[in-house]
């Protein structure tokens, strides 16, 4: 499931942060900026003091800072626009549109690399186009941004600009905005092409040959569709001529029969259950163990991935989700749509009589205050399948008395959903995001382009880094530097875990020794007590700057929203706003840094 961590409302994220955070994003931004500013100021002063003496050095530093801040505050939008336009023209001269040609070429031949007969081809195709676009656009942004300024300086064409009344800040910002515009335009075309590609490839229908249908028990007909997109469906049609197929490759179709049985025509609709953007309302999950005692987590069944925990069947063990704001106003249709995904762990497969059946489970809705429960609904678990339950407003309680969902089972808008496994010696596994309420769906098209906007956000960050690096490094070095930031940004989480000692195998030196000595991750180092202490101390020293760098780096994996779109979940506006804010923060910060670097160079003085 894609939503493995809680998504905070935008303002809470910006100002206060989550329960584990000391501050919100904005205070963090200012702390980082002030710290970086102080460090830069001290560093600048020291260098200046060495070169010009302490008094002269202090004076120069003061003038740079004050002049710089003045310059930054009086940017001319007209000149920034003119420079951005120049940047766009330069990009076109550098054949930026080749990226589009490469992308279209990839789409044309994508069918050679992608097999449609996957269990969920929608997911595969969407993640393919989004991932391919991400890599191409980020590489394009990288190459454009890092070589532009150094080339201008090298070819001295920069003098035609700096001899005009232009401030260094405007040069840096103009570049950033110009490249961002080019990237946006390229991304827009790619987005459109990708959308058409996905819809054309995944959208399909099936034919049904009348002679393949047989009479079903109780009237109606049943049979199979013809093959399309490497699969076919079982189909059931009722007496009135309406029917649907079973679910294959993550979708199903509606079927309509026209004409009498002899000359019947069957119209199979487009695939349902794909091209979705669910808007889930998540609850808080807690567990009750086999003896009825509260537990924060269920049982581990030994999976390497500890995301889900399990409850034992045939006991009091239960997984309980508590949902807030379950009010009639939010669920206007008068029913509560619950979607549930269950994992099953069997301690035995069952005998031949029961091996073909899913494990029986139950769902009960419960008022958290009064303890009033709805009548138990049983279901058979099917893994990797979203079980949709539409709970009607009018229900019966556990004694068979009529009750109202919103009036009787909620308390201050809170509702509990209890899930239990009914079969002895078998287990159900779940995580918080496995059960959610789905009051509505968002448009897939909108969500698809939201996915592209997450690439846009990453592209902005890469452009900002590229331009910033190019203000003080030569083209190739700036490229290497930006590539390093990009790669480290992709592995930011891993770097942080190394820096905080959360991975097995120790820090950089310890893991190097383990690799060379072919020692496994879990055993104690066999280098002797003293040497081990020295190694670990050295690692602790190295990992602090590593932590600082990793904390500052952009989290490219976090910014990517490929899985949200491919798994059919709406990218919430709050999340999108958070990502855009992050990229703007990098843009502002790197613009300031880039300005000061360029200002120190001879050409811009």
């Amino acid at each position: 499931m894609v939503i493995e961590t809680e998504i905070l409302p935008f303002w809470q994220w910006l100002l206060y942060g989550g329960s584990d955070d000391a501050f919100g994003a904005l205070p963090w931004f200012f702390i980082a900026m002030i710290t970086a500013g102080v460090v830069a100021l001290l560093g600048g002063y020291l260098i200046s003091a060495v070169r010009h003496g302490p008094i002269e050095g202090g004076d120069r530093t003061y003038r740079v800072v004050v002049g710089g801040l003045k310059n930054l505050l009086v940017l001319s939008p007209r000149r920034v626009y003119a420079l951005a336009r120049l940047t766009v023209q330069e990009s076109l001269r550098r054949h930026v549109l080749v990226t589009l040609a490469v992308f279209l070429l990839i789409l044309m031949f994508a069918a050679l690399f992608l097999r449609i007969d996957q269990p969920d081809p929608f997911k595969l195709y969407v993640s393919f186009v989004l991932t391919a676009t991400t890599y191409l656009v980020l590489l394009m942004a990288l190459f454009l941004s890092v070589f532009s300024l150094p080339n201008d300086i090298k070819n001295r064409t920069i003098y035609t600009v700096v001899t005009k009344p232009v401030r260094p800040g405007e040069i840096v910002l103009g570049r950033m905005l110009g490249f961002a515009f080019v990237g946006t335009a390229v991304l827009a075309v790619m987005g459109l092409a990708s959308y058409v590609f996905v819809v054309r490839e995944i959208g399909h229908t099936h034919a049904i040959a009348a002679q393949t249908l047989q009479d079903a028990e109780g009237g109606g007909q049943k049979g199979r569709t013809e093959t399309a997109n490497a699969h076919r469906h079982d189909v059931t049609i009722d007496r009135e001529g309406y029917g649907r197929t079973d679910s294959v490759q993550g979708h199903w179709h509606e079927v309509t029969q026209t004409g009498s049985r002899e000359d019947a025509q069957y119209d199979v609709g487009p695939p349902q259950g794909v091209f979705l953007a669910r808007v889930p309302v998540l609850g808080k999950l807690r567990f009750i163990d086999r003896l009825g005692e509260d537990k924060p987590r269920g049982i581990s069944v030994g999976n390497e991935w500890g995301y889900r925990s399990y409850i034992e069947g045939g006991t009091q063990a239960a997984a309980i989700w508590t949902f807030d704001e379950v009010t009639p106003g939010r669920f206007e249709d008068g029913y509560l749509p619950i979607e549930l995904t269950i994992r099953v762990f069997r301690t035995h497969k069952g005998d031949q009589d029961s091996i073909d059946r899913g494990i029986l489970g139950s769902i009960v809705l419960r008022n958290p205050q009064t303890g009033l429960q709805s009548e138990m609904q049983s279901f058979r678990a099917r893994e990797y399948y979203v079980d949709q339950q539409y709970v009607s407003r009018k229900l019966l309680d556990s004694d068979g008395n009529p009750i109202d969902l919103f009036d009787d089972l909620t308390h201050n808008g809170q509702l509990e959903v209890w899930v239990q496994c009914l079969k002895d010696e078998q287990y159900f596994g779940m995580a918080q995001a496995d059960c959610y309420l789905r009051p509505r769906n968002q448009s897939f098209t909108v969500n698809f382009f939201k996915g592209f906007s997450s690439i846009w956000v990453q592209m902005l960050v890469v452009v900002a880094f590229g331009v910033m690096c190019s203000t003080f490094l030569s083209g190739p070095v700036a490229m290497m530097f930006t590539v390093a930031i990009l790669v480290m940004g992709l592995f930011k989480d891993f770097m942080l875990r190394i820096a905080t000692g959360d991975v097995y195998g120790g820090g950089p030196i310890e893991s190097l020794i383990r690799i060379v000595g072919q020692q496994n991750l879990m055993s104690e180092l066999n280098t002797g007590d003293v040497t081990t202490t020295v190694i670990r101390t050295a690692d602790a020293v190295i990992t602090f700057p590593m932590w600082v760098v990793a904390s500052i780096l952009p989290d490219f994996r976090g910014l990517s929203k490929v899985r949200w779109v491919s798994e059919g979940f709406d990218i919430s506006p709050s999340l999108l706003a958070q990502d855009v804010s992050v990229s703007l923060a990098y843009l502002v910060g790197l613009f300031v840094v880039g300005y000061f670097f360029l200002r120190t160079r001879e050409v811009a003085k």
């Binding site: 031949f109 050679l112 690399f113 992608l114 097999r115 007969d117 996957q118 269990p119 969920d120 081809p121 997911k123 595969l124 993640s127 093959t227 490497a230 699969h231 076919r232 390497e304 991935w305 995301y307 994992r343 099953v344 069997r346 497969k349 031949q352 091996i355 073909d356 899913g358 494990i359 678990a381 099917r382 893994e383 990797y384």
Partner: protein, 558 residues
């Protein structure tokens, strides 16, 4: 002057280029083939080496444009790319993202299509590990077939690779036919229109029969392309086609197919097993084994032995006497100690002396060469032949248990008999009647079936000394006892398999329920057992009335 020098330099360059073209052409000219005549040159040295060592893609298997493109796109770093993808696949597997896992495997194999282990390992991963992650048997079947499809793709990229071909046979047979869900899997497999070509008849849509075909392809690759079998002995490797035919025959009977169809299936199994017995199979020490020809090689040993001795009658005994005379007193004293009273050291000395006293065929031939030079050639020829026959005969004796040769030979034989076919059918129908809540009919059918089993055991007493049939029969008897319990009836006094139970029921599940011996009119059984013991010679093992130690056999290895 300078123009002239420049001109000369250009001419020199041209000549150098022209000269270099000769070795370059000799080294790397591509092989050509005329589309009209089919004739062409074998190309330069590199092209010939590629052809000789079967290194070009055309020799290895199918050429896939997608695969070639991906290989080129990695700019020579496909090893690194494959490593990263492998890591990614592991991550997807851990996080249960099966679509991306499967797609990543495709990418790895496109990068390294001729890395056979990848196909083997990941096909196993799909069919065994990923399928296990799903609770619904239809999902599990889908992933089992996904692994099989994956492996089949591998056989296209790696033509005539016996490992992949053999694995295909194994996956089809064992994963579908021996899983806990085998009844459901076999049903789904027969109905699997995506897997079977449209023109494959329904009776051929059988996992065992198709598995057997893949084993045959693997054998063909080994026989015709000098490919090595890795990871399993040749003996085991070649036994599987016949074994899969046996499993096919047994499975269709368990599904209620009897009569001529079942008889034909067992007859084919018997032929396949015989064919396997006739196959000359190389052993690890460069000798051979031919499982079905034990009698022939024993006769060869005897015949050559006699002929060699006939060249110099009494010479072997004379040599042995000479050697005895050369023994020291201490050695003689050790030899004189009765076997039971010898210590460990003494037994070791005796073994050493026995080896020393034994006259080998070549020692005998050597002595004949000294005494009768005109007979030397013949003596050495006979000694060689004797030695060879001896080695093969002992290889056969040693190897037969490895594949349970005698059991399967006998099984394929007895299953074709009317008694066996009828016994199976009656028991099957009895089980159906019991499932349909008709214990009376079930009892009647079971009792008729058990009578037939009695007849089978009389005719083939050695069959129960092997675990498979003995255990199977025990399960049948246990089910019979359950049926009797439903009828509130004890085991009748004339229960025909009394002695089988007494010898075979190690866990005492049924033995305690048998009526006392005095009440049992088992004289007829004894009589038949006596007859049975007379037929013991057909398999060399104890019959039903043999002592318990002889009845209990070790489970078969395959």
């Amino acid at each position: 002057m300078s123009e002239r020098r420049s001109f000369v330099r250009k001419v020199v360059y041209l000549c150098a280029i022209g000269l270099l073209l000769v070795p370059v052409s000799w080294l790397s000219a591509p092989a050509t083939r005329s589309s009209v005549s089919g004739q062409g040159s074998s190309g330069g040295k590199l092209a010939r080496l590629r052809a000789d060592y079967k290194l070009s893609q055309a020799n290895l298997g199918e050429i896939d444009p997608a695969s070639e493109t991906i290989k080129l796109a990695t700019l020579g770093m496909r090893g690194i790319a494959a490593n990263l993808l492998w890591e990614k696949a592991n991550h997807y597997k851990m996080t249960e993202d099966w679509t991306n896992f499967s797609a990543t495997l495709e990418q790895i194999t496109k990068l390294q299509p001729n890395f056979v282990s990848v196909w083997q390992y990941q096909a196993w991963n799909l069919s065994y590990n990923v399928s296990y992650e799903f609770d619904d048997y239809r999902d599990r079947y889908y992933w089992v077939m996904r692994g099989i499809d994956f492996l089949e793709d591998g056989t296209r990229y790696n033509e005539n690779d016996p490992q992949l071909l053999w694995d295909m046979g194994w996956f089809l047979g064992y994963k579908i036919g021996r899983a806990d869900e085998h009844v459901l899997y076999r049903r789904l497999f027969k109905d699997d229109e995506e897997y079977h070509p449209a023109d494959r008849p329904r009776e051929m849509r059988d996992n065992w029969l198709l598995g057997k075909q893949w084993f045959r392809k693997a054998q063909y690759a080994v026989d015709n392309f000098q490919k090595e079998v890795e990871g399993r002995t040749d003996l085991i490797f070649h036994s599987y086609p016949a074994l899969w035919q046996m499993y096919y025959a047994a499975t269709i009977e368990s599904e209620g197919v009897f009569g001529e169809v079942a008889r034909r299936a067992w007859a084919t199994a018997a032929e396949d097993w015989q064919q396997f017995g006739e196959r000359i199979i190389p052993m690890y020490d460069n000798t051979i084994v031919q499982l079905g020809r034990l009698d022939y090689y024993r006769q060869e040993v005897e015949r050559n032995h006699q002929q060699l001795n006939a060249l110099a009658p009494g010479l072997a005994d004379a040599i042995q006497s000479e050697r005895r005379q050369r023994l020291t007193d201490a050695q003689r004293r050790v030899l004189a100690i009765p076997i039971d009273e010898r210590s460990t050291d003494q037994r070791a000395i005796v073994n050493q002396l026995a080896a020393m006293l034994q006259v080998t065929p070549h020692q005998l031939a050597g002595r004949i060469q000294q005494l009768h030079p005109e007979k030397a050639v013949e003596a050495h020829r006979l000694a060689d032949a004797l030695q060879h026959a001896n080695v093969v005969a002992s290889n056969i004796e040693r190897s037969r248990p490895d594949v349970n040769y005698d059991y399967w030979k006998m099984r394929a034989e007895f299953e074709q008999t009317d008694d066996a076919l009828l016994a199976r059918e009656l028991i099957h129908k009895g089980s159906e009647a019991f499932a349909a809540a008709d214990p009376d009919l079930a009892r009647e059918l079971y009792e008729q079936g058990l009578q037939k089993w009695r007849a089978i055991l009389d005719a083939y007493p050695g069959i129960v000394s092997h675990g498979i049939t003995g255990d199977e029969l025990m399960r049948i008897i246990e089910q019979y006892v359950r049926i009797l319990n439903q009828n509130d009836a004890p085991i009748p006094a004339d229960f025909p398999l009394r002695q089988f139970v007494e010898y075979h029921d190690d866990e005492n599940r049924i033995r305690g329920l048998l009526p006392p011996v005095s009440e049992s009119p088992d004289t007829s059984t004894d009589g038949s057992s006596e007859e049975a013991s007379e037929t013991d010679s057909r398999d060399g093992s104890g019959g039903e009335d043999s002592p318990p130690t002889a009845v209990r056999g070790t489970p078969p290895s395959p």
